[in-house]
């Protein structure tokens, strides 16, 4: 018995070691290019033949946080490539705010040409951004906003979450043209997240404008499929067939709501089912839009690379970019989306 236990335990330890080894492989991969480019940079400052390349320091909050964030990182890497005349130094802070500030300070010490920051924390940026300003390095904020005086950074690039919400509410008004009552339930994101605030705000304003629209219930599903399903089940018990529109503030929650509705035997999406609205438009959910389960899916574009490149080129040419640069975002509708659009989606 003891021998058996011992051999089992040795096997377990070995198996977990293999898992752990596999686990450590990945960070090594992601840090490797950063180290390589840093050393390359150190090497090419002295002879200066590669002076043509624009050096961009990119402080990412957490490169593999979500599918969205991964697509975001990849877009930056692909656009700001050496073939396009850039040298990108990626610093992944793994959601460690202190490390991120140190990374940015490191960029200043390395005398990069531009700094791009997707901030972990809103606060604590004054000192390092003042240093960057004194060193004459333009700072571009990406996706997340920060609490700092506006003259400390050049501009902000990202999504206009309220505009996303307006696209969705516009679709609701095209679907429900008569004066009949429209009952809406709102599955909100993590309360306080900028995406939640913008998307909820657009809905509340649209409801104020349309007297026949009614917000039956709202609750935070915390971006999660499971929680959203639980809340939706409770709403179905309370309101049943009265629900006309589900306004889910991300794809995962829309998924949860759809499952709850289907399990209750209600028709979802399409021309006559409960109308489903979703945000983010990741690949799997564009597929669901194509299948007609999601009526309107508003994109939240992670591909910030081209916009950042555009801003850098503006500054290089001596111009000054707008303080707020919004990335282009589309909305996809169940009746107009095609398989080609779904296939083209990389994230």
């Amino acid at each position: 018995m003891r021998k058996l236990l011992r051999s089992i335990s040795i096997m377990c330890v070995l198996a977990l070691l293999v898992m752990a080894a596999a686990c450590t492989e990945k960070p090594a991969e992601t840090t490797a290019p950063a180290v390589a480019t840093t050393t390359a940079k150190a090497a090419d400052t002295t002879p200066a033949p590669a002076d043509e390349l624009i050096v961009v320091g990119f402080a990412q909050c957490k490169a593999d946080e979500s599918d969205w964030r991964m697509a975001n990182t990849k877009s930056m890497q692909e656009t700001l490539s050496e073939a396009n005349g850039y040298k990108l130094i990626l610093a992944d802070s793994n959601n460690d705010a202190a490390k991120q500030v140190a990374d940015v300070q490191g960029f200043i010490d390395q005398e990069v040409d531009y700094i791009v920051i997707a901030a972990v924390n809103m606060d604590g940026w004054d000192t390092v951004l003042t240093n960057a300003k004194n060193a004459g390095i333009p700072v571009i904020l990406m996706d997340r906003t920060i609490n700092a005086s506006a003259d400390l950074y050049t501009c902000w690039v990202g999504s206009d979450f309220k505009a996303e919400g307006v696209k969705a509410t516009d679709w609701i008004s095209t679907r429900f043209t008569s004066d009949k009552e429209v009952n809406i339930v709102n599955l909100q994101g993590q309360l306080g997240a900028s995406a939640q605030i913008g998307r909820s705000e657009a809905l509340v304003e649209a409801i104020d404008k349309n007297s026949n629209w009614k917000l039956l219930a709202h609750q935070t599903g915390e971006w999660s499929t499971d929680t959203a399903k639980e809340i939706m089940t409770s709403w179905i018990q309370q309101h049943g067939d009265k629900i006309h529109v589900v306004y889910a503030e991300n794809d995962n929650m829309a998924d949860g709501a759809i499952q709850a509705l289907e399990e209750a035997g209600m028709k979802v999406g399409g021309d006559d089912g409960v109308a489903i609205i979703s945000f983010d438009a990741n690949r799997a959910y564009l597929q669901m839009t194509l299948e007609g389960k999601i009526n309107c899916n508003v994109e939240c574009n992670p591909l910030h690379g081209p916009k950042v490149a555009e801003i850098i080129q503006t500054i290089e040419a001596g111009g000054s970019p707008a303080k707020v640069e919004v990335v282009e975002e589309a909305a996809f509708y169940y009746d107009t989306i095609t398989q080609a659009i779904v296939d083209a989606r990389s994230y």
């Binding site: 752990a20 499929t225 089940t233 409770s234 499952q259 209750a264």
Partner: protein, 387 residues
Amino acid sequence: MNKVVVQIKRFFSRLIVIFQRLFSILETPLRKIFGHKLAIPLLVLTAVIVQNIISTPNFFDISIKNGLLSGYIPSIMDEAGELLIITLGMTLVIAVSGGVDLSVGPIMAIAASFCGLLLNGSEYRTDVFQNPYILALFIGLLAGVLCGAFNGIMVSYLKIQPMIATLILFTAGRSIAKLITHGQTIYIMNPVYKYLGVQIPGVPIRTTILISLLFVILVTLLVKLTSLGLYVQSVGINGSAARLVGLNSNAVKFMAFVICGLLAGVAGLVGSSGVGSVNSGELGMSIEMDAILAVALGGNSLSGGKFSIAGSVIGAYTIQAITTTLYAMNVRPDQLNVFKALIIVVIIVASSEIFKERIKRLIRRILSSIPKSSKKTTVVGGCSDEN
């Protein structure tokens, strides 16, 4: 006029007599009921349900929608399923080691990821199983067992504190799961995958309810029919003493963690089946805290030793009942957690020994002060004092 006053007085003194007689008859059973370990958890669950009768009149309505029992009660039982399964394992771990297993949520993610990887192969969204369903379930459970065994070895043979030992998988577990799934969510569209977490065609009761109850019965039988329950208790009360009487306390601890890992694996498969996808960043998020809370609400000591499976079951259902109640009452989202915290504070305070003692003393004082007002009742009052 005077007569009326006298009559009222007489009426009240009679009422007090009746009340006291009733109390003296009921005292022993009442004391038995309220002295029981499960009294407070049951009382709380009852209170939550009574609150629901008032605020949500259709709370107890049960109907069959789309071939499934639906209503608030079935959905509480359904949504508590994963938590319930996790809580069973957590109860054993807490009882045997006086520590907690923080890694159950990540183990759920690992188990489901292995299962999802085998079922979908390299596809991120498909309705064709690439490997046999049973094999995928088995591998998922095996992954759970292995993780549990890892925790068990750290705790029992290497003598690392449970919280620290399980912190390893708590931190690394989700990354491991992400590696398995290449960082993306896996969508398993084959309807068979939903058997475990939603419904087996033709069965009107949700599978989660059935599976969670099945495991409650299995674990109860394991604890009552084999000597495992006794061993767990003795090791939890005093590990060295248990070893001196000939128990292999390391093996008992190891077993408890393995069972906890296996149950976490089951919960992971059920949970991911319920939503038809494997999202390693989301599955079983912060469920470990709910499970610890459920064990505590069930009247179990968090320092190990004696434990009650029934208490933990009630604890898990109570937590879910509170959440569902708050959803049914349409509590504003920004206030939801405040309400939850308030209810839990009340429960924890009400079940503390000092509070119970105070309440007992208060009741006794009130009862002993009443008889002095009327002559007839002194006999009865004396009687209850003797008890």
